[in-house]
Symmetry: C6
Subunit: 81 residues, 6 copies
């Protein structure tokens, strides 16, 4: 069975908020694909979630994923401009 890497298999979301949630999910799912053992990921979590630098690095990945998703959605410009 293939691991689901892009929920819904689309980059299109209704809103920036949903796009941001997708970015976080996609970043997490890549980690899951590289370390499929959920127990190991659970072991790593406290160290990572209490390190400012680890959180910043993870936030960076989310920013990069979001850039792609935002472009895919033409920045949701129709929503508010």
């Amino acid at each position: 069975m293939t691991v689901e890497l892009v929920p819904g298999n689309t980059l299109i979301t209704a809103t920036p908020q949903e796009g941001r949630e997708l970015a976080i999910t996609m970043a997490r799912k890549t980690i899951g694909a590289m370390q499929p053992d959920a127990e190991v990921r659970q072991v790593l979590r406290p160290g990572y979630a209490t390190s400012a630098d680890s959180l910043t690095a993870a936030g960076h990945v989310v920013a990069v994923e979001f850039a792609t998703i935002a472009a895919a959605n033409n920045y949701w410009r129709g929503d508010s401009v």
Copy 2:
């Protein structure tokens, strides 16, 4: 309840200054989503805010978020060109 990741649920801002503020806020809110415990974030802050490298890394994330926001706003070209 969903965590608000994009304030106002739009990438559109009136000015570059507001776009920059949004970039900082979005970067912070991602950290908040990954480490929801405000007390832990409070504990981490002094170490991070007194490390040049941590600040540079955080500044990098802001730069990446801002790139997306600036593109969304067509670089606010109408403002001053």
Copy 3:
């Protein structure tokens, strides 16, 4: 013989999911080109797969590869918008 760096020699995929799989594969194949000894890569894997920061860094590379692939595919916009 040339190492295959881009499976199928195309960036075009049918879906975001396949694009994401291609991003992971391309990231891995670059590592393979730089460290062609599979045994060495095998030795390195446990340390890397149990370090949150290493996984985040690898996830970042996948995000960058995916940005390129997503642009190549016009973000698969026809799929779902």
Copy 4:
């Protein structure tokens, strides 16, 4: 009072040189927003300014800011092509 994050509140500059200066200033102002205590920033400066890796990381942030500014200015193509 709001901290000024984008001097002049515009990404438009007359020349690449000015765009580059803006990139450096914007990168610095983000650090200032995250660490508003100028004395602390002063304390951090010597360590950072004498570390090749810290300087490279800061240079990277400037490169990312500049990419955005350059795009905003259509790369100042009119200047010299």
Copy 5:
């Protein structure tokens, strides 16, 4: 004599595979320009090629170079779509 930084002095390649090879070569040639002593580079190689994090960082650079090359080639869309 100038060091050759872009083989063939063009970003245009026939295929994604060749584009990827160019990305790896360009990344390497930059290192060569910064550390022109081939013996030093030879000394550094084993440490770097047996560190997962070093390989990931190098893979990241290749991904960034490739993004540029892929855009230059309009993603080789004519090849397979």
Copy 6:
């Protein structure tokens, strides 16, 4: 006197090779702006030029600068396609 950050005050170059040289120069000049003391930079150079990871990080900055320069030049497509 202003430090020259973009030689020639333009991102336009005749060839990819010259674009690459500009990328390296611009990356270096940013470091010079942040650490204006040439003697200090001289002190830092050996450590940096003999660390694979430092060289990779510097190569990454060059890749980012080059992406901007390549876009400014429309990837020099006229040269060879």
